[in-house]
Structures are given as structure tokens and as C-alpha cells.
Subunit: 213 residues, 3 copies
């Protein structure tokens, strides 16, 4: 079980770094920029979470996350033609979905186990863990951030973290089961969004007309 | 007195979150983005201050700030037509002025009471507490940040924090009086800027001509 | 020796703040914005490093860095016509090169001496110390960040930090000599890039054609 989650964390880290490089590539980046962007995207969210929790940042104890992020960035950069093929990108998107599912619930669980601002703060920190790195990447890249795109990305993460908070408040005994369920929920929701190109529904948005009206 | 400052903090938090949602709405946002932006704007500045001070973030002890920010964001989103009416926006702007006055001086006072880098660091941390959330919001929204607009917003905050630093150095005994005076100063300065649409005066700026010359 | 590094740190701080103000000036900024941007650029990188290391931020113990950044920002603002002359800008660029060389290796050495995630984390934290403030400035200014420009800026810093990590792993005894060598390397690499207007070579980049291909 623990090894499975280790493997998922590695896959997620690879996907975070690789998709960051692929997203930046059309702007004409160099290898170093690719490495920095890949690294920040992969470890940024968990780093902000640990700073807010007042805990040592997770990669100070286990630098394998740094190595994996850097390697994935370098391989994506040098192998860009291969890595940007439709099928590889699709695979990376699904691995990214594994990553956000795992990191969101792990982040929420870390805050929960510290009793940090229950029940709302763990939900917030789970979301930050999963999408914080992507937000930093988008700010550095100067592009519309992932919250402002119509893609269903932050919403599955947030729904899963809210579910985690609600279930943990209701039945705090079964935390492993709850964590597994919420991870599966996030992954399936996000995977469905990728598969069927789901977007944020209009009733959930303020359209431009409304807001100018 | 303490209850008054509690009420002012709540009003300020509501105003921070609501004005963030109103500022973002013309770009077409969804509910989740509204909640995240409202929350970050409302608690971002105080969070950065606490991280720099090495203190537990203020909302880990009292999650009511999280609830209030989220509720204000949701209400502003669903009630956008009402909340974006001229009179409501004007009210929110004045509440926002209450918020920056309170948070700036509370932030400076927190750093001062810890003896943190006196007298300059408390001034800086007061400014960060009041406008840090707005800066994060502007960076995420990819728009010109509040420092670069001609509106008198950061200047009242900064002037009040400098006054606090000077007065606390001169007469450290009367800290409650000084705090009250400086909050009143920031609020009145900012409220005057809203009321008479004051802008940063030209002699205080490098105009484009000068800078290109 | 210690006084020399003190003098270099001051010169670097002045250069960081002054070049930030000069970079922002064409957008028409006011004095306060100049001061905030100068300050964030000068102390931002080291602040992020200290937060990640879990150490008190360096300017809480010695606020002279704050004074120097603010003074340099003010002087650059009021003396913009003088400070933006070609020769003064060139001087500032070389002082900035001194600054990044010093701060990068000091940052890496601080992490190394704490045994923080050896050997990879000190390399990363050295880079963050040197260029983090500039990245924050670019994000706030809403312009292409320094990683995405073709100028050779982040690459000398990163090469020097990697060299530091490799040499410290290989011969940990001679840390002062290694630090000096790596600082000299960064400075000379960057100074050469300024002098001969060197850019990131094409083979080190994903060109737009390739990435769209």
C-alpha cells in the first residue's frame, strides 16, 4: 500500500514537471528555464503547504522529489518531439490526474493529522498542495492561470478536498478509507473531464455579459 | 474596544473578499475561482506577515476568517448584480478602507511587540499585511497590480505605517493611542481619496516622458 | 575578508534595488512603488530562502539591508536622469553581477552548513537567493520574467551553484576556497555576458519552430 502511494507520488511528480515543460515550450525556453519551471510546478504546492503548516519542507528530508522533477524536465526538454506527441501528452495528463488526486488528499491529511485549523484549513491546504505549483508556474509564465481557464481542473480537486473534510468530520475513525475514496473521486472526476473534454458549466460561471451588465 | 476591533476586522475581511470577486468578475470567473481569489485576497497579506515573523498563521487558530472570506465571496458571486451596484461598491470601498487601516496597524503592532527588526521591519510588515493579499490577487489575475495604478491606495497605508514607526520610537509608552491615531489617519486619508477620487500627484511620479528622456 | 564580503553584499543590494527601479521606470511609477519594488528585489530571494530553511529572515537581525535598499531606491528614483545614463547603468549591471555571485554562493553555503537536503537543495536555494527577488519583481511588474529572456543571467548563477555543490561533495574540507572560486566563476561568467552581450545559445533552447513542429 505504502509502496503503491510512493509509486503514484513519483508518477505524479514526473507528470507535473513534464506537463509544465510542455506548456512552456511554445514560448521558446532554454534548458535551465525548463528545469526551474518543472521543479517549481512539481514541488511548489507542497512547499507552500509546509511553510504554512510550519513544518520542514517535504523535500528537505527526501531529495528524490528534486531529482525526479529535474530528470523529468530534462527528458521532456531534450525529447520534446517525442514527449509532445498526442498520445504521450494524453498519458501525462492522466498521470497528472493521479498526481493531483494523491497530493490533494495527502496535503489535506497532513494538515488534519496536525489538527491545523479543522475542518476548513486542511481542505484549503489540500487544494494548495495540488494546484499551488501550477499557479506559481502560470504566474511566472505570465499566462492566464489554471483557475481562470474553463478546463475542469481545480474543481475536481476542490470537490475531493471538501468531501474529505466532510467525511473526516462525520466519521473520523476510518481515515484510510476516506482518503482512498476521495483520491479515487478526484482522479475519476478529472479523468472524465480529460476524456470527454468537460468544461466548467455556464451556470457555475459569471459570464462576461452578466458581469458587464 | 476589543469587540469593536473584532467587528472592524470582520468588516474588513468581508470587504477584501467581496471587492476581489467584483474586480475579477468582468473576466468571467466561476464560483470556485471567486472563492479562491476572495480568500487569498482576504488572508494573503496576514499569512505572508506571519510566515516572515515565524509565527503560526493567524487563521490556524481562528478559522472564522476563512469562513467569513468564503461566505463573502459566495454571496458576492451569486448576488453579483446586487453587489456590483454603484452604492454597494461604494460601501465596500469604505469597508475596505476600514480593513486596510486596521490590518496595517495590527500587522505593524504584532511585529513591534515581537521586537522584530525595529523600527523598519514593523513598518514593512504592516504594509504587507494590508496590501499583500491584493498584490497576490493582482498577480494571479495577471493585471496591473495595485502599486502601479494611480489610485491612492498603498500610499495612505504606507504613510500610516511610517507614522506608527516614528511615533512608537518617539513615545513607546502610549501604544494604544498611537495605534488608534494611525488607523484613523489611514482610514481618513483613504476615504478622502475614494470620496474625491484623489490620484498619486505628478511630482510623486516618474512620468513616461521623463523616464524615456 | 569578512569586511570585503560585507562591502560586496552592500554593493549588491544597492545594485539590486537600483536596477529594479530603472527597469520599472518606463512604466511610470511613483516613489512608493519604486521603494517597494527596490526592496522586494533586493531582499526577496534571501527571504524566500530563509523561509524554506526555517530560519529567521536575514533582515530581522540586521535591518541595514532594509535601509540600504530603500535609500538606493529613493536615490535612483529622484536621480533617475543621472542613474539611467548609460555609464551608470553599466556600473550597476556589474555591481549586480557582484551581487548575484555573492548571494548565490552565500545562500548555497547557508543551506549546506545546515545540512539541508544535500547536495541538491543548497544548489536550488543558492539560485533562489540570487534570482528570487528578480522573479518576484518581474511577476509584480507583469513582464516576461528573467528566466524567459535570452540574456545570460540565471545560467551563470546556476552553473556556479552546481559547481559549488559538486566541489563541496568532492572535497568538503576546503569550503572557503570553493566558495571564493564559485563566486569568481559566476561573476566572470556574468560580466563576460554583459561585456560581450552574450545570449543563451540556440542549441540550449527549444526554438519556436521546433516546439510548434
Amino acid at each position: 500500500m505504502n509502496e503503491l502511494s510512493q509509486a503514484a507520488a513519483m508518477a505524479g511528480t514526473v507528470a507535473f514537471a513534464a506537463t509544465a515543460v510542455i506548456a512552456m515550450a511554445p514560448r521558446g525556453i532554454d534548458l535551465l528555464t525548463a528545469m526551474v519551471m518543472g521543479l517549481l510546478t512539481a514541488i511548489g504546492g507542497g512547499t507552500v503547504r509546509d511553510l504554512i503548516l510550519g513544518q520542514p519542507v517535504f523535500w528537505s528530508k527526501d531529495i528524490s522529489y528534486l531529482w525526479i522533477s529535474l530528470l523529468a524536465s530534462i527528458i521532456t526538454f531534450w525529447g520534446y518531439r517525442l514527449m509532445s506527441r498526442r498520445r504521450v501528452v494524453a498519458l501525462l495528463l492522466y498521470l497528472d490526474a493521479v498526481g493531483i488526486a494523491l497530493f490533494a488528499i495527502q496535503g489535506a491529511a497532513k494538515a488534519w493529522s496536525l489538527g491545523f485549523g479543522l475542518p476548513l484549513a486542511p481542505i484549503l491546504l489540500g487544494i494548495i498542495t495540488a494546484i499551488g505549483g501550477g499557479l506559481i508556474r502560470d504566474m511566472l509564465a505570465g499566462r492566464d492561470n489554471l483557475l481562470m481557464r474553463r478546463e475542469l481542473y481545480a474543481i475536481p480537486v476542490s470537490a475531493g478536498c471538501v468531501a474529505y473534510g466532510v467525511l473526516m468530520t462525520a466519521t473520523p475513525g476510518s481515515q484510510n478509507l476516506i482518503a482512498l475514496l476521495c483520491m479515487a473521486f478526484i482522479f475519476l472526476f478529472r479523468a472524465g473531464a480529460i476524456r470527454w473534454k468537460l468544461e466548467v458549466p455556464d451556470w457555475f460561471r459569471l459570464s462576461d455579459n452578466q458581469s458587464h451588465g
